[in-house]
Structure formats: C-alpha cells, structure tokens
C-alpha cells in the first residue's frame, strides 16, 4: 500500500510514467483486496487490518497510523480505478503536461492517504493535500469561468475544513476519560467513548457539516456545479468520483463512529437536509442545459443519497451507502470522461446545440447511454444495486418521519430517469444539429480504454453485488451495532 503511494509520488515525467504508476496502483489495489480477503477468510476479525503506526509528533500523541477495513478497501479500489481511467482520459492534455500530472498525483496521494488513515490528524492532513491541488488544476487547466470556480470551490471547501478542524480539535481534547492520555487515533477514541454528551452536541454538527460540504450536502453544494463545469476532464472525474466520497467516508468514520449519542439525537436535521439534496439535485438537473451542470446536479442528488443512507444508521443502509459511493464514483467518472471527450470534439457542452451524435460517434454514444442507464438504476449495472440496498435499509425504520423521507428518496428514481433520458434523447438521438459535427471522429484507443475500464467496473458491481456487499457489510456491521 505504501509502495503504491511512494510510486505515485515519484510519478513526475510523462505519460509513460503516469500509466506505469496508475497500473501499479491498480495492481497494488488488487493485491490489497486479495490479501485482505484471505486474511478475513483466515479468521482475522480485528476491525482494521494491515495496521501500522509511526510516531510523528509525540507531545500531542500524533501518529501516522494506517489501517484498512472493508469499507476503506473498496474505496481504495474505486480510487485506483478512477485514477487509472483518468490518466487515459487526459492523454492529450496540453500545455504543461508534466506539471498537470504532478498535481494529479499529489491529489491521488491525498485521497489514498485519507482512506487508509486511522489517525484524525493525518486524515485531516491528507484531506487538505487532496483539496489544494484542485485549486491549481482547475485554475490553470480548466475552462470557462475557471478563476471564479476554482476560487469558489476552494474557499467553500476550506470553510468546511475550518469547521472540521475545530471539530477534530474538540474531539481530541475529549478523546480520553479525565486524566487519560489524549489521542488522535480513531479506534482508541471510539473505544474510550469519552466525549461528553454536551460536547457531542456541538462537535457532531461541526464535523458532519465539515465533511458534508465536500459531500455536496444541501445547502453547501453550490461549489459543485461551477467547479465541475470548469475543471478539466480527469479532474472532474477524480473530484466527483473520489473526492466527493471523502465527504461521505469522513462523516461515517469520524462524525458517526466517534459520536454515536449525538448522531442519534441530531441525525434528523441532516436527514432532512440530505433528503432535500436528493430530490432537489434531481429536479435542478432536469432543466440545466450544460452537460456538466446536469451531471453536477445529478451528483448532488446521488451523493445526497450516500449521506442520507449513512444517517439511516443500520447495516443495510450503510452497506448501500458505500455501494452508492462506489457506484456513483464509477459512473460519474464515466460521465465526466465522456462529456470531456464529446466536448473535446464539439467544443460545446450546451445540449441545445448538439443532436444526433450517435450517428457520428457511436462508441461514445453507447458509452453515454450505458452511463445514463447506470445512473437511472438499471439492474445489471451498479446504480440499481446501491439504490435498492439503500431503500430496503431505509425502509427498516417503521416511523412516519423516516418513511416519508424514504419515499421521497425513492421518487428520485423517476426524476433521474427524466433528466437522463432528456439528455440522451437530445444529444445522441434525433437529427444532426450542427453540420460541422458530421466530420467529427469517434473515440481513439486510449479513450476507448478508459471508457471500457469504467463500464466493466460498473457492470461488475451490477452483476456480482454480493461480493462487494459482503466485504462492506462485514465492516459496517460492528459499527452499526452501536445504534442497535
């Protein structure tokens, strides 16, 4: 695992190195899964595997503590996939290719580091490492109103991290019972369970909102449409595909895991907000005209579903949430990759100016339809599995409040169908809108490669969900027992 990180850090030169790095990452991720499964099969039931800890700053008891459980394993696999596909999708990027890939790798380092940290401080550090390159990647290589978007995205997320940092410091100071050794280690904090209730009352919303901003929770989601619209293809892919998952993962790993009491007390507020996100994002997506805006709002809706499911506080919904992170990560990455490729050819993202692209670029067209089908929850692709797990999980709450919001979330499957089919019908089918488009070419080999990789991943989850859901359930179950 660390080898993978070291490698990705050393990637500095050109595509060849980038591809080697990404492939190595994939290989290491696969190796990690196999090792993880064999250890679990051998009966190792400790919450985190492959743990390691290196003292960093002894006076405050900060360590570089690493370890993975089922949930982080699948998140790492997801990230590896998207980085891999992202490298291929930004094949022809100019100028400053070298610098671009450097930042890209720094970003991936942050992401991987975040998922394997079990120390709050290192986790937060990696979180920042993942966020800041975003500013430059959008500001330098972006398009459209990129300065504004980059600034907005960074500031809003930084605002979130400010909350988060306060929250984390607060947790740190109550991490042990009176007189005990304070710690940053998540597992130890959970075991001590020493955060007083009145503090949880403040710290929970702080950390939840802090991570929620990144998870595009209503009303802190507005960075997402602008940010995505301006970002270059691979950055959009990585951002929507992985970075937004940091939010969901963080909410779960820190806010909920460490403060179960406040979670139960306050979850209703956030259930309302995320419930709104789900429907609101979907309705907004219905009337957008820019492909990336549509997808960004759709992400608001789908990521809202992730947080929504996490707050349902039972194993099934939690498993669904992680599946949804996987599923949304892959299919949004696929969407953004395809949008990037289409934009690279037509030089417009306005759906009113496109039409009949299926005749001109059948490969990209079919890819887009598959991505759309995954997004609207077609069985056999990943979206269906995730959404159904979430709905069944959420429905286990018999009270009226949860029921109403579950039904509301279910409604999103219809609205999603509306905006997906609207776009597909508009840009792919029908007659060719613009004469100039007739001369355009279909995907090149590296683009095909990226698209096929992602489609296969989406189909793998959709066809063999039990493999993934078992890994996740195993990790989610002990944590959700806190709420039983």
């Amino acid at each position: 695992m660390l080898g993978g990180l070291a490698l990705s850090k050393s990637v500095k030169q050109v595509r060849a190195v980038a591809v080697t790095g990404a492939t190595a990452l994939m290989a290491l991720a696969a190796y990690l899964v196999i090792e993880f499964l064999s250890l679990r099969a051998a009966g190792d039931v400790s919450p985190m595997l492959f743990t390691g800890s290196w003292t960093w700053f002894a006076p405050l008891n900060i360590n570089l503590a690493l370890g993975v459980d089922g949930i982080s394993v699948v998140m790492i696999v997801l990230s590896a996939f998207i980085v891999f596909a992202g490298v291929f999708a930004s094949w022809n990027l100019k100028p400053l290719t070298k610098e671009y890939f450097m930042w890209f790798c720094l970003l991936s380092t942050g992401v991987f580091g975040f998922f394997i940290s079990i120390d709050m401080f290192t986790m937060f550090m990696f979180y920042e490492v993942a966020l800041i390159p975003m500013y430059l990647l959008i500001g330098v290589w972006g398009s459209g109103n990129k300065n504004y978007s980059a600034m907005k995205l960074t500031l809003m997320l930084m605002g979130g991290s400010a909350f988060l940092m306060l929250g984390l410091i607060g947790i740190y100071f109550h991490s042990a019972p009176e007189g005990g050794q304070l710690t940053m280690n998540i597992l130890e904090i959970a075991e001590n369970n020493a955060i007083p209730h009145e503090w949880q009352y403040y710290l929970f919303p702080m950390t939840f909102v802090g991570f929620g901003v990144l998870g595009a929770m209503f009303p802190f989601h507005t960075w997402s449409p602008d940010g995505h619209a301006s970002a270059p293809t691979a950055v959009s892919m990585l951002h929507a595909g992985v970075l937004m998952k940091l939010g969901g993962y963080g909410c779960f790993r820190i806010a909920i895991f460490l403060m179960p009491w406040a979670t139960q007390e306050l979850s209703w507020i956030f259930l309302v907000l995320t419930g709104i996100s789900v429907v609101y994002g979907a309705f907004s997506a219905c009337v957008q005209t820019d492909l990336k805006y549509i997808n960004a709002y759709s992400s608001v809706s789908h990521c809202g579903m992730v947080l929504f499911a996490i707050l349902m506080l039972n194993t099934t919904a939690m498993t669904g949430a992680v599946l949804q992170m996987l599923s949304h990560g892959l299919m949004t990455a696929l969407f953004f990759a395809l949008i990037g490729m289409i934009y690279g050819r037509t030089h417009t993202r306005d759906i009113r100016k496109m039409g009949g692209l299926m005749q001109i670029m059948p490969f990209l067209g079919v890819g887009y339809v598959v991505a759309g089908m995954a997004s609207l929850g077609l069985p056999g692709l990943s979206g269906f599995v995730a959404e159904m797990t979430i709905f069944v999980g959420s429905f286990q709450h018999a009270d009226m409040f949860h029921r109403v919001f579950t039904v509301m979330a279910c409604c999103s499957i219809v609205i999603t169908a509306v905006y997906i089919l609207r776009v597909v019908g508009k840009i792919l089918f029908g007659a060719v809108q613009d004469e100039h488009h007739k001369t355009l070419t279909d995907a090149e080999w590296h683009e095909r490669f990226a698209v096929v990789t992602l489609i296969l991943a989406v189909a793998a989850i959709g066809c063999f969900p039990n493999f993934f859901s078992n890994i996740i359930t195993e990790a989610a179950d002990p944590i959700m027992k806190l709420f039983a």
């Binding site: 600034m151 907005k152 500031l155 809003m156 009303p219 507005t222 609101y280 309705f283 907004s284 219905c286 009337v287 957008q288 194993t315 099934t316 009949g356 299926m358 005749q359 089908m373 609207l376 929850g377 077609l378 069985p379 056999g380 269906f384 599995v385 159904m388 797990t389 709905f391 069944v392 999980g393 429905f395 286990q396 018999a398 579950t406 039904v407 279910c410 409604c411 499957i413 219809v414 169908a417 509306v418 089919l421 609207r422 019908g425 792919l428 089918f429 029908g430 007659a431 969900p465 039990n466 859901s469 078992n470 359930t473």
Partner: protein, 641 residues
C-alpha cells in the same frame, strides 16, 4: 435437478445479446439475423421441452393429490440485504410460468423469423437482433422469477429493452420521444411497484413467491392490522404493486405510452407491445393472486380499473385512423379484460374460473394479436404507410395476409371455433358470476371489439384502392408469410387447449364447460356488431361520416383519446417543469449560491477596507499611532479617576 436445463433459456439469449451487441457490427447482416434466429429456435425448443415436461411429465413429486407442485429448479443468492431479505435469482416452474415460457418463445421465434424479411435492408439490423435477444432474456427472466425482487429486476430490464426497441429508429424525433415517454411513464408506475415491494417485504420478511402464496393469510396478517390513511398497509402494498403492473400493462390512466410506442418497428410492437411485455402486469397479479384475493378492496380497484380501461380503449379504437393505433388500443382493451377477469375471480366462484380465464385469454390473445400486428406489418411494408386512408382493396394483392387478418379478427371478436371465443367466454362467465354489472359491461365492450376490428378489416381489405401509382402492393416474402400462417393455425386451434386441466389458481383441475347462456349471448352480440360494421364499412359510403358529424364532439374527443395526452403534457411541462424544476434551479443559482457569493463579496470588500490601513504611508501610521496612544491614555486616565 430435473428440469434444471431450463436455465439455458436464459443463458442463450443473454449470450446472444452480448455477442451481437459487441461484435455484431463486424458480422454481415444475414449472419447476424440467422444467428439470432437459430439461437431463438434452440431456446424455443428447450422452453417447450421444459414446459411440456412440467405439464405432462409423470415423475415423482410433480403432482401431489391432483395439485401440480411449484418447482424451484435453480436458486442463487444474488444480493443479501438483511438476514431474511435476500434477492435470489432462480427459476420457478409452475403452470403459469410454464405457459408463459411457451407464449414468449413462440411469439419471439415468429418475430425473429418475420424480422428477417421485414427489417431487411434496415440500418442497424444487427443491433435490432441484439435488442430482441435482450428483450427475450429479460422477459423469460421475469416469468420464471422465484421472488418479487427478481421480478422487479427483470421488470426494469424489459422496460429498457422496450425503450431501446421503440427508439430503434433513433433519428426520428417521434420515435425518440415515444421511447422516452414509455420509459418514464412505466418508471413512474414502477415507483409504486418498488414501494409496494418495500412495504410487503417489511412486514412479511420475505420476497419469496412460494412463501408468500403458500400461506397468504399469514402474509396479510403479518402487518398486525397496521393502517395508513384508513386502509390497511397490506391493501396499500398490494395496490401499489398493482400500480406497477398497471403501468406495464397500460391500464388507464397509465396507458398513454402504449399508443405512442407504435413508433417502433412493427414486429417489435407484435412481440413486446401486444403479446408479451404488456401482459406482465396481468402476470404479476396472477403470481400473487392468493394474496390479492384476500384483500377485497384491492380486488375492487383492479376490477374497476380493468372495466374502465376496457371501455375507454374500445371507444378510442373505434375512431382511430392509424392501423397500428387501432391495434394498440385494442390491445389495451383486451389486457383490461384479463385484468378484470383477475379482479372478479374468487376462489369460491366457480372454483376461481376468473384466474384460469385470464391466463387463457392471455395465451390466446398473445397468439392472435401477434398475428394481427404481423399482418399489419406486412401491409405497412406493402403500402409504406400506417394510415388507413392509404389502404384499401388489398385483398386482391395480398391474399394470404387477407385470410390471416380475417382469422385474427374473428378470433378477437370471439366467434366459434376461433381461440378468442373460448377464452372470452370464460372471462364473461367469471364476470357474471361476480356481479351482472361487470358481465354486462364486458359483453358490451366485447361487441365494440368486434365492431372496430371489422371496421379496420373492411377499410384495409375491401374499400376501393387508392391510387397506388406504379408501386402496386404485393404479398410479403416467405420469411414474413410463414409466421402469419403459423400463427393463424394457432389462433384457430388454441381455444381447444384444455386450460382448466393445466392452469388454475390452486394448480389443481378445474372442470369447465361452455356456458351457452353466456357464450350464446356474446356470440349474438359479436355477430350483430360485425353485421353493423359490414353495413357501415363494407364499402366506402357517407353514412359513417354523417354519423361522426352528428356527434362531432364525442367523435373528436375519442379521436383525441379523450385528451389524456394533453392532460399529461400539462402536468409534466406546465406543473413539474415550470413550477418545480425551474424555480428550484433559480433558487439554487440566485438564493443559495447568491448567499455564498455575497459572503465572499463581503469578505472581499472588508479586506479592501482594511487594506487601506496598511497603505504604507508613514504619515498614516503615525497618525494612527498617535490616535491610538491618545485613546489609551484617555482610557487609563478615566479608569484611574
């Protein structure tokens, strides 16, 4: 396990879909078509073997005390939600699924063969066959489902295959919007289905059909008398599930997608929108029939919706001018017969004859309606138009088609000895047994059916031919006429299949005989309706136009399908898009985003304001220093005093 080879009926089509979908473009059209058709042929043989073994096999355990057992020949865990709630993929063989295997594979094979001729020369021929395979796979998966969630999975898959096939001519805007409409309307209905499943499974703790139906009263009581808005939650669950079925089966008011779906290629309409997919709703209710018949309220809802739809669709069919639209509305009306038949069925009424009748009619209707659609396809192929005004006198040019179409019309009108006579008779018996109101209602609609079918027939085959120009219509090629002949024969003999011995609600034997009081009356009505159609439409004459003029308002309303499409258009565009989506988008950009921008701007201007203090001018610093010192001094002096 015995019969486990049935799984091949699922594997062959899905493999074919992937194969034709991925490498299809590299194959020649002929190879792709033949490959698809041969694979379908093999699938059909296996399905027949499996179904016939199920019905007539004598091996142990198949029939216990005169009751056919439900055989689960395959069961794989696909996704585990909780300890009890598990989605399995499996194959359940029982009378209705075995019957559906026969229906689906027969019609699908005929459509495969027919399309070799009909789709000849079309762009995307390989893609067409790939989609047909996908559809066949999904539909077969739906009928053999062992649990309700598996059914839902394949339910969505047939929906998407239908979407892809309706939008096959994707360069035509009408086809694109029709496919979109079909998908979204059925998706909306599926939302109900999903919620129904969630409620049902929450209380019964299972998705499994066998568990649910073998002890239906336990399923009903599992909710423990919980109610919602005055109705028991189980009634809600079952009604919501029925909503999913109503969407797929195009029941009023969710029927609006089906007439538009006729934009797809005609063989597709025959397969999906006449014979198989649209009866999925009927199949769903039949699947859960033992549970449904314990909820009296839901059964009434089903009956009423069925009756309303039957009448509505028949009325609209009487005035349409597009041949496929007439057939589409006729399909809606006939499916409504099946739904009503289930709605009026009770185990205690004639041993649950309604259930048997519904399945019987499903079977015969699939055959004769596929026949009618394939004939329509041949006609459209010959005259290059869907409009009846462009047809006429075709009996001279297309004799085989003429006879096949006539057989189809007689079958749907319920004339002895054609298939429709027997099945429709059983439906009417069941309806009269429940209440004469439903019986009389359905008899009337049956009369209308005979009327509009013969109106269609005469206008196409008997009227004076319009000017065909140098392009005289001619009989279709062999690949297209063979399915017509085959299905005609089936439509003649299908009525003699002893359904009462094979497919009944309790899987036992039902003793049926033709009730001549009912059958006689309905035959008289049908013959009278045909006679009326003959008088009015035998050849071109001004009487029908005058009649239409006499009640212009009603006629226009029926022609416009009683403005249902306009109503939906209003709701979706004027209410949902204009009053929900746009305000939300506006709110998002202006209010929420505006707030954050405002925050940023305030911070910005605050910084600018503060910046002036650090202007770098010594005088300014000194001034501030002196002022500050003075204030401090003043404060300390005041404090000291």
């Amino acid at each position: 396990m015995e019969l486990s080879y049935t799984v091949a009926v699922l594997i062959i089509p899905i493999v074919m879909f992937l194969f034709l979908g991925i490498v299809g473009v590299k194959l020649s059209k002929k190879t792709a078509g033949l490959l698809g058709t041969c694979a379908m042929g093999v699938t059909t043989l296996i399905a027949y073997a499996s179904a016939l073994t199920y019905f007539f096999g004598t091996s142990q355990g198949q029939i216990v005390d005169g009751v056919r057992q439900q055989l689960e020949v395959l069961d794989i865990t696909w996704l585990q939600f909780t300890e009890n709630l598990v989605i399995k993929l499996g194959i359940l063989l029982d009378p209705i699924s075995a019957m559906m295997l026969i229906v689906i594979t027969t019609v699908s094979l005929m459509v495969h063969i027919y399309s070799l001729g009909y789709m000849d020369g079309e762009k995307g021929f390989q893609r067409y066959y790939a989609f047909l395979s996908l559809f066949t796979f999904s539909m077969l998966g739906l009928v053999v489902a062992t649990n309700i969630f598996q059914m839902y999975i394949f339910w969505e898959l047939v929906g998407v295959s239908s979407y892809l096939l309706i939008g096959f001519y994707y360069t035509l805007p009408a086809a694109v919007s029709a496919s979109k409409k079909a998908f979204i309307v059925t998706r909306f209905a599926d939302l109900g289905f999903l919620l129904g499943i969630l409620i049902l499974s929450f209380y019964t703790k299972t998705f499994d059909f066998v568990t649910l139906t073998s002890n239906p009263s336990a399923a009903i009581t599992s909710a423990g008398g919980a109610t919602f808005m005055g109705c028991s939650v189980m009634a809600w669950a079952l009604t919501l599930i029925f909503m999913g079925g109503a969407g797929k089966s195009a029941m009023f008011p969710l029927h609006i997608w089906l007439p538009d779906a006729m934009e797809g290629p005609t063989p597709v309409s025959a397969l999906i929108h006449a014979a198989t997919m649209v009866v999925a709703g009927v199949y769903l209710v039949a699947r859960l029939f033992p549970v449904y018949c314990l909820e009296e309220g839901t059964m009434t809802v089903i009956t009423v919706i069925g009756c309303v739809t039957a009448l509505y669709a028949a009325a609209v069919a009487c005035v349409q001018s597009d041949i496929k639209r007439v057939l589409a509305f006729s399909t809606i009306s006939q499916i409504a017969f099946m739904i009503t038949s289930l709605g009026v069925a009770r185990p205690e009424l004639h041993e649950g004859v309604g259930y048997m009748a519904s399945m019987f009619h499903l079977f015969t209707h699939a055959m004769f309606k596929a026949l009618l659609f394939l004939c329509a396809g041949a006609i459209i192929h010959a005259v290059h138009s869907n409009e009846m005004s462009k047809m006429g006198g075709l009996r001279k040019y297309m004799p085989i088609c003429n006879i096949a179409f006539l057989i189809g019309c007689l079958a749907i009108s319920g004339i002895w000895p054609f298939a429709g006579f027997f099945s429709k008779d059983e439906i009417l018996v069941a309806a009269y047994a429940n209440s004469p109101v439903w019986g009389i209602w359905l008899s009337a609609v049956a009369g209308m059916t005979a009327f509009y079918m013969f109106r269609l027939y005469y206008k196409i085959f008997w009227w004076n031919n319009p000017d065909y120009g140098h392009h005289t219509p001619h009989e279709a090629p062999m690949t297209m006429t063979f399915p017509l002949i085959f299905l005609s024969l089936v439509s003649i003999v299908a009525g003699f299949v002893p359904f009462g011995d094979l497919v009944t609600w309790n899987r036992g034997v039902l003793h049926t005989q033709i009730v001549w009081a009912v059958a006689g009356t309905s035959t008289v009505i049908a013959v009278a309706a045909i006679a009326l159609a003959t008088v009015l439409y035998y050849k071109e004459n001004p009487v029908p136009t005058k009649m239409a003029d006499a009640c212009r308002g009603l006629w226009t309303a029926a022609y416009k399908r009683f403005y249902m499409d306009e109503l939906y258009q209003f709701i979706t565009h004027k209410i949902i898009f204009a009053c929900i989506s746009r305000p939300i988008a506006w709110f998002d950009r202006r209010i929420i985003d505006g707030t954050f921008d405002l925050l940023a701007n305030v911070t910005n201007s605050a910084s600018y304001a503060v910046r002036k203090l650090q202007g770098g001018t010594i005088q300014g610093y000194v001034l501030v220093y002196i002022l500050g010192a003075a204030i401090l001094a003043a404060v300390s002096i005041i404090c000291l005093i």
